[in-house]
Symmetry: D2
Subunit: 312 residues, 4 copies
């Protein structure tokens, strides 16, 4: 993520100016507004704008004329109560907008969260940057044998180095060919005056899925938590997890009470099935129970046991 | 719309405090933030919060690192271009939140705009205010004979006065019965100690559709314009039009360039069918054309002629 | 729910005709297609159309060229797996359309489920039927003292009978006034030739919230399950629960494997917070733990204990 | 689009079986159900399932107990009326589901239509086919000089052939490297037993944006028309237009009246701005008017003149 000097200056300008507003502000988020937080080798996340804070949730839940907030403990209690009982609408009353730079294969997973607004940098209209995601050795995992969509053990250093070399060469070639198709070098000069420029919308199709794109992405707090619950999770692909984890910190800065409740009731909470609940009750009464009796499948039984540190 | 003293004070408190923010601000909207604008006999609209302004649209369309704005004429031009070509996503990057007091029959039409967030005052949880919409004489129209869902001429003063009296009496009786069912008067005292309080969620069902409710309503700029295009329109029911018209002024204060483009290309623009376009071309060439030849129905033909001031 | 003879005939006609289709069919749902199932005193639910069945979920999850189904046990296993892991998108591939008659106060809660399609009978355009919901004695509960939005004990027979009488009289008067405002009786005749007809969109505002409306309501299977999880639940208002419970039976007829998985993992499953999980682990190890040590609030602790039949 | 023998058989099986249903059927669509229509070099569109037809729109608009249809001319008139006046909700009552094979760069534009349901073939879970989009000579356009996101004139045959060769070689190399990373050939055999298999979710990132993916895509009729209005349009990228044009034919088979109205009022209709309307009126009165007087920009003026065949 090497910002150009112009980009760095533009960001600094935004950061040094303040304006008076009558709106609610989130001091923790103001501190980091516009700041690019590096992710992967060339990506970043920046908060560009936001609306509301913890008090806005309380205010909307109470449909109040004023701030709607009471004692801090009461407000905190209300936020916990709302989240615990899945009263989600007051959380939709806060909104946040990010500027994100990310590889296209990550963007393709990300966009499946439909209740959000997106403006993506257009490869039909503009020329994409020469930046590709090359995984580091530490994250090059083998195909998992237990989880068809997961990553297993690390590869040997030799194989890893070979893979990285291959990815790097392919990316470099793809970009060189992209420029050749565009017939335009990075300085904007025509490469071969005897040739035409291929339309940008066509030239881009030869780039690989690890090329970086960027977008503005805006979402309400409720849907952001849904995104984070799924993506800041060990089952998500590593390359999207790292974005989600950074955004989790931003959530904490923005709405500390909501963050706390989110971690307590959603992120680190658990779900049990009907059979799981029945089994739990039996176990708590000291009654022995086998997998067969529980009605769970072998897989469910293992997950259940692991979750509860049971010696099964 | 008589605010209680507490409510007026709460609003004033919000209005007198300002905070420094690094976010974009919309000065025109800051001026009226939190201010209740009266609508109908007891309703109001207030802007509670917002995110972004005209520059945010430009910034998102350009996926920029900084403000993204250039010369004022260029920004204005871009906003006009985007709206003219229905490039709607950059307008989704701005968000606004209202507090609205409105009769339930208006709320029922309003809620059909689904791409918005709502927190309504709950009649299951709380006791509704003794406020009902009673139309004024000027707006009491007869059933239209040409438009099955419209209003025709004004009624006679006698009939109007009779209707208003009837509506008023029914509303008053409904509220008196509501309190009787709740077994609780407006001061919160039990009316008849020998009786139980009927559950609030049941007592409310006897209130009439003109009773006022209130909600927090949040929407992005693109969907707000869609709402205003449909509701600040002569075909909408008068009682929702008056809300939309006030919100149109708020739009102007918030995003003046977008407002201008919206009026030019959406609100006061027109649509012609394929047949309409063919007819237009013939007329512009001076060729005579009849309704039959145009392929339009009689009704379409009349609308077409009226729209263009044609002497047909 | 007294259907007119015409309505009954129209329904019968639909039920007696069959057509050959190459689409997947759900035999259990075909049996009851178009049939109105009575709800409350005048309401009903009818399935009007549907798309897909259990096999469609499997087919979409596998993005298959053919049916995509394998052995019955494998398909069932996949559906359970998907629902257990909240892989929700394959369930969005099935769709169902209902015709529902329901009181307006129920419709107002119902419509908050936004990811659905609605066509409501229009009181601006047409005249509403003379049907109002009058609760039966058995469901007239007092205001709950523990749950601000709930119902407590039944009222005394005397008070119940009084309330029912009051509701019935008010509804009858409201409808009589509605006809007077419309200046049109139920046979469509003008009541007073010397008076105008008030516009329908205005006359309706005097009707009470227990008047029946009707709508076509279409939703995908994933969002239907979300609706049912919230509304076929003891915390929902009784008058919406009864609709949801009937629709739960329809779900079973439509997609039996999905129904089974839904009951197992969602409807009768439970959620524990982070603190709940830690507490569970301690209890399972036989370690004593108090409410204070658990980090739960008193209320959470009580809910936790109740859920697990713990003697606390 | 070479189907494997198994795929062809699976499709044929679906096509030869019919079942009796009480639901509305669309005979024109039944005829082509499951049939893959080739698009581009390896892509296709197939209709997998549908719900409703023209009569369902009428039925929902009338909230009827039976079919809701009257005389054919009346039904057709109602559908035209609804579409002309943007009464969109009855069109949401029909639903259609497609199976589509398409290059990833097309999929990325397509997915921006958020009000739809998607199940995509997963490159994390499965191995992608060795199929890449290679444009034919006829569609290799140069970068447009007037429209930054458009295609201009065709390239010379030599340059075209060179580009095609380059794209083909890069695609072949990308796939060969993909298999090397997966350490698995097309028959599923390990290539090098001394090496690990890189996780699928990582191996895929080296494929180029012209590789084919496939998905199940489900959408309601209203949103489908919105998609087609934007994508079966000369301003859309050629490679998505070809899909949309085929789906336009499917629309015609499914809902012939709606198709007719869609073409008349949306697809081949036009929009004029406020200034455009004022100018039109002047022109129709025979009054001369210049671009400056019209209030339009030069660009708007040109578009206006072209649209109306005006000699300006």
């Amino acid at each position: 993520m090497a910002l150009t000097q112009t980009q760095a200056q533009e960001i600094e300008e935004l950061q040094t100016q303040t304006y008076p507003t009558r709106r609610t502000i989130a001091p923790g988020l103001e501190e980091i507004l516009y700041e690019p937080f590096p992710v992967l080798d060339h990506g970043f996340v920046r908060v560009i704008d936001y609306m509301g804070d913890d008090s806005s949730i309380v205010q909307a839940a109470r449909v109040s004329y004023g701030k709607g907030t009471k004692k801090v403990t009461e407000d905190r209690g209300l936020i916990h109560y709302l989240l615990r009982h899945a009263h989600t609408t007051p959380f939709e009353m806060c909104e946040i907008k990010f500027h994100i730079k990310l590889p296209i294969f990550v963007a393709r997973d990300w966009i499946r969260h439909r209740t959000a607004n997106v403006n993506e940098y257009s490869g039909r209209y503009s020329i994409l940057d020469n930046e590709f995601y090359i995984p580091s050795e530490e994250v090059l995992g083998s195909q998992s044998t237990t989880n068809r969509q997961g990553r297993g053990d690390r590869l040997s250093p030799e194989q890893s180095q070979y893979i990285i070399k291959l990815l790097r060469e392919d990316s470099e070639r793809a970009y060189a060919h992209y420029e050749e198709l565009l017939n335009e070098d990075s300085a904007g000069n025509i490469i071969d005056p005897k040739k035409d420029k291929l339309a940008r919308e066509l030239a881009r199709i030869n780039l690989s899925l690890n090329v970086y794109t960027q977008w503005y992405w805006k979402i309400d707090l409720h849907n952001l938590m849904h995104f984070l619950a799924l993506r800041a999770d060990a089952h998500a692909q590593y390359e999207i997890q790292v974005y989600a984890n950074i955004m989790l910190d931003m959530l904490k800065r923005w709405v500390p009470f909501t963050y706390e409740a989110f971690m307590q009731y959603r992120k680190e909470g658990v779900r049990f099935s009907k059979n799981g609940l029945i089994t739990l009750k039996k176990l708590l009464k000291g009654a022995p129970i086998t997998q067969e009796e529980s009605g769970m499948t072998k897989r469910e039984w293992n997950e259940f046991s692991e979750l509860l540190d049971l010696p099964l």
